[in-house]
Amino acid sequence: MPAESKIRILVAKPGLDGHDRGVKVVARALRDAGFEVIYTGLHQTPEMIVNAAIQEDVDAIGLSILSGAHNTLFPRILELLRARGADDIVVFAGGIIPEEDIPALKAAGIAEIFTPGTPLGTIVEWVRRHVKPRGVAA
């Protein structure tokens, strides 16, 4: 079995917006690429996402948002992961995120941000390269 089949990813939709077309398409593409995908469903608070990530012992969290609340919600998720000692979980994100917000979000610890129009293959490839099962030497 290829090593990547062990990679577990929590795909989450923080905030109140209900636009889940993108998150569902990405979740399916990751699953079809052989990862284990857990989708949280909609309207998740940062607390709910971090609890789920720790309970499910995931290696990565993929966040999707387009409501403009990313500058509030993403840093809060990273902060909670740190507080719970789980900041080795790789966090990546996608959605409607203006270019000028990206540097600050990356500085806060989001590993990668995929903007609209990114091919699914690019996201899958990035996960293959940057996410390793936790507890396994990279």
């Binding site: 209900g18 569902k24 403009g68 509030t72 409607i96 609209p116 129009g117 091919p119 293959g121």
Partner: protein
């Protein structure tokens, strides 16, 4: 066509295929093996009268203003009156949105259309912990009647019609609108406009809900009864395909699920004891206009014909106005690209043209910057001017249904209708739309379609200019509207002031009476109106419903 003419045509077609076409294909093969619409309906090389040979003009098309209204609901269509140009607007504080409304009215817009922010759409006040970071971002924040009073300051509610894109708490916002009018002394029968109120579409696609589907339908029923009694010019429900399409549905799915939602609301009205001939004429529709030009025109024409048949044959409506499918259209937000945003102006113009050729009664044209944020003034001006150019310069509004009879358009209209009826039959077999939603049926069908389309994009079978073809890496930034984080603080401040200044005993009493009405199954609209007038907030009123009916949680399906 008579059989002889048809046989001659078919023989000629075979000859053309064997000679002219064959030579051309030998010299230059076609660009693709298979052509299909954006919804993946196969497109033929050529359409002739043979493709619509069994089309019965009087039965299937008829005359505009007459059953089944395929060619338009009005006999003269835009020769008599152009469509309403209604740009959706709302952001930040009620003050800022009010300024934008006045700006749009000065530009020549003919109706208002209000966008609310996510907390309001979900029935949370601006100071709710879940509202953090979301206040005023995707629309205007309205937590209490005080916000509503500011939002409509200086707007003549008896002259301008207002459309409000609000669903789960539509009952609260409608009550607020009525309360503003009551206070100004405007008679309720002069209030014209629309609340979207399409909760089934929320469960299917947009996903801003409060209580479970069956309880939600009861609240919609209360609004229908209230509207029938108090607001003769108000469209209580705008049955919406827009969000269904944006979530990834095909054109046929948008058509089918929207009409199936309409069937459920008509049934709900009948079950509440309303006369179908009296309330059905106040139902209106809201569709998406995507980029596949002819498919969209066909969709609108099929929608009119199908709804007329549903109302007359299924519900036995006898009032011709109950057979009318009146609709607002918005160009497809999902078709706009963050890459090369100026291209969006062209996309929107073509989509708006399709909506007009499809016979819409009202139109919103998206602004070029809407993939990033709410539109700037300049962007929204270009979007509105696009409509005005189509209306006044192109001449397309000067004859009724100009594409009627075009072989391809008629064949495609029938194909979409065929696919949509098949979905409606399936939904009927599942026990109607509420049961279908509870079973996750439309949600799954849409997610499937979205994934299929995405794969076609990845394989290059579908092209989006600037995204998977003609890519230009040079960034060409356009101005973006930023929402000041101060908005949230100012909204929370106003809310606290309202809570401090109102009469707490009156609020508690009103909320108590609402709770009792909801428990007993009485009409909730009257107690909501009292609560709103006592300055109870959207969150407080919705908490009553959460307590009585429980909150909805969607099973997460991918």
């Amino acid at each position: 066509m008579d059989p002889e003419a048809l046989a001659r045509l078919e023989a000629e077609r075979r000859r053309w295929e064997a000679t002219t076409l064959r030579e051309a294909l030998a010299a230059r093969p076609e660009r693709r093996e298979r052509f299909s619409t954006i919804s993946d309906v196969e497109v033929g090389r050529l359409y002739t009268p043979a493709d619509v040979a069994d089309l019965d003009y009087l039965r299937d098309l008829g005359f505009p203003g007459e059953y089944p209204f395929t060619r338009g609901i009005h006999p003269t269509m835009y020769r008599g009156r152009l469509w309403t140009m209604r740009q959706f607007a709302g952001f930040g504080t009620p003050e800022e949105s009010n300024r934008r409304f006045h700006y749009l009215l000065r530009l020549g817009q003919t109706g208002l259309s209000v966008a609310f922010d996510m907390p309001t759409l979900m029935g949370y006040d601006a100071d709710h912990p879940r509202a953090q970071g979301e206040v005023g971002r995707e629309g205007v924040a309205v937590s209490s009647l005080a916000d509503m009073e500011v939002l409509f300051e200086g707007i003549p509610l008896d002259e301008i019609t207002t459309s409000m894109t609000i669903n789960a708490p539509a009952n609260v916002l409608l009550a607020m609108y009525v309360a503003v009018a009551d206070r100004r002394g405007i008679p309720r029968e002069r209030l014209g406009g629309t609340t979207q109120t399409d909760i089934l579409k929320e469960f299917i696609a947009q996903k801003e809900w409060i209580v479970p589907p069956r309880a939600s339908m009861k609240l919609v029923q209360d609004m229908l009864v209230f509207g029938a009694r108090e607001l003769p010019r108000w469209n209580v429900i705008s049955i919406s395909g827009y969000h269904i399409r944006e979530a990834g549905a095909t054109a046929a799915q948008e058509l089918a699920f929207t009409l199936a939602d309409g069937i459920a609301y008509v049934q709900a009205g009948i079950d509440a004891g309303l006369d179908v001939d009296a309330f059905a004429p106040r139902l209106s529709f809201f569709f998406d206009c995507h980029i596949d030009f002819f498919e969209e025109i066909a969709k609108f024409r099929a929608a009119r014909r199908m709804w007329a048949r549903i109302m007359r044959e299924r519900f036995g409506a006898r009032n011709p106005r109950a057979w009318w499918l009146r609709f607002h259209t918005q160009t497809a937000g999902v078709s706009l690209t963050a890459q090369q945003p100026l291209n969006n102006i062209v996309r929107v113009a073509l989509q708006a043209l399709a909506a007009v050729l499809g016979g819409t009664q009202s139109l919103h044209t998206n602004s070029m910057d809407e993939t990033y944020a709410l539109p700037t003034e300049e962007a929204v001006t270009v979007a509105l001017r696009t409509q005005q150019i189509i209306a006044y310069e192109t001449g397309v509004a000067d004859t009724v249904d100009p594409l009627g009879g075009a072989y391809y358009v008629e064949a495609l209209t029938r194909e979409l209708e065929r696919q949509a009826w098949a979905y409606i039959e399936r939904i009927d077999a599942l026990g109607g739309m509420v049961a279908a939603v509870e079973a996750g049926y439309p949600q799954r069908e849409i997610a499937e379609a979205a994934y299929r389309y995405q794969q076609q994009l990845e394989r290059g079978e579908k092209i989006i200019v600037g995204v998977n073809a003609f890519v230009d890496e040079t960034p060409r930034p356009i101005p973006i509207l930023r929402i000041d984080p101060e908005v949230e603080r100012r909204q929370v401040e106003r809310l606290r002031r309202v809570r401090a200044e109102r009469d707490p005993a009156r609020v508690a009493e009103a909320l108590h009476r609402l709770r009792e009405a909801a428990r007993r199954g009485d009409n909730t609209m009257y107690p909501i109106l009292d609560a709103v007038k006592a300055y109870a907030t959207v969150g407080e009123i919705c908490d009553v419903f959460r307590a009585v009916y429980g909150e909805y949680r969607e099973p997460a399906i991918i």
